[in-house]
Symmetry: C2
Subunit: 191 residues, 2 copies
DNA sequence: GTCTATATGCGGATAGAC
DNA sequence: GTCTATCCGCATATAGAC
């Protein structure tokens, strides 16, 4: 009874996620994932027909992890507290697991967009921003918030804020959004 | 008199930038750059001792291009108009030359940070944001603005806004910043 | 279900000839 | 100053044995 290791898709994804996080690399190598599983690369093709299929599964796994943390942070009765806590949780995820976060964002977003986890994360953000503005399904506010948080996380990691540091830019931006979402005049104020 | 092609660092950087833009790739291949120059890969080592050295030079070139466009857009007397025009110009650069923009932002920022071009771009942003808030050297405002613009550009390209589109999120965010930078209470309002 | 062996391709970098 | 030739490493993916 040789060759009876018995892998599973979820086990492969789990190990792949751990590897991305540990190696701090954006790219996955089938050889490396297989090796971490105590197996050779060709074996993975029984479970994922291409490398891209595995990557998509990993991206969805990252979204599920993110969802879990955001839900916990969002368990707050006060809308403003909820908004701030979710923002902090988003940045904490990006900071502490940046390799996974980056893996998801650098090109894998579009593919993971249709997934259940993707919609759930988006809905969390949308609901929280809508609570602030008082408008149902406030896509504008959610888009602005997400852009700000994603940009901040990315620049912070890239060292874009330099020696001076962010200098309260995060708090200032969130404060401006909290005030600006509720008190805006018209929906489509053009530039 | 064979082998007398005579390259130059600036010529190599120029061709490398064109290649990144044309091929829409984040990575540079020395072979490909050399080929585009009508030369073989080892020749490049006369001008750049490593691949990384060339990449840094390219990143600086991208920053110079960006600076040029931002300066033009910022030639506006009214502070608010200037702020908006520079924001639009920033996004236009990221959109129309995304491969170059991405090349700069994905890990090359820290290296290009000390360059002259890097400081000049940052100062443009800093001055414009400071004009809005009325505070000299308003790092907080510049950090918030840059984060928002960078995040928006990245998510837009990645298809993160999905089928619904940004839905005015850009305008809403900029409006919130324009209002929020000037009318804030204290400098270090913590979350 | 996993293996070995292999096809095929990419990449950076160096030594030494011209 | 550029070349050829080469070393060395990485990768995805497939065929067919066990």
């Amino acid at each position: 009874m040789a060759y009876t290791k018995q892998l599973s898709p979820s086990e492969i994804v789990k190990v792949a996620m751990e590897m991305v996080e540990r190696e701090d690399t954006e790219g996955i190598s089938l050889r490396a994932v297989a090796s971490a599983l105590g197996v050779k690369a060709p074996s993975l093709y029984r479970y994922f027909s291409t490398k891209n299929a595995l990557e998509m599964a990993v991206a969805e796994g990252v979204l599920r992890s993110m969802y879990t943390e955001l839900v916990c942070a969002g368990a707050q009765p006060d809308p403003e507290t909820r908004f701030k806590e979710m923002a902090v949780a988003y940045l904490r995820f990006a900071r502490t697991r940046y390799a996974l976060y980056s893996f998801l964002m650098q090109g894998r977003l579009h593919g993971a967009y249709g997934s259940q986890a993707g919609k759930e994360v988006w809905n969390l953000l949308l609901e929280s921003a809508s609570q602030i503005s008082g408008r149902p399904d406030d896509t504008s506010a959610a888009v602005a918030t997400w852009s700000f948080l994603h940009g901040y996380a990315t620049l912070e990691h890239a060292g874009g804020f330099g020696k001076s540091g962010p200098h309260g830019g995060l708090e200032l931006g969130l404060r401006a959004f909290l005030d600006g979402f509720a008190n805006r005049q018209s929906d489509n104020a053009k530039l």
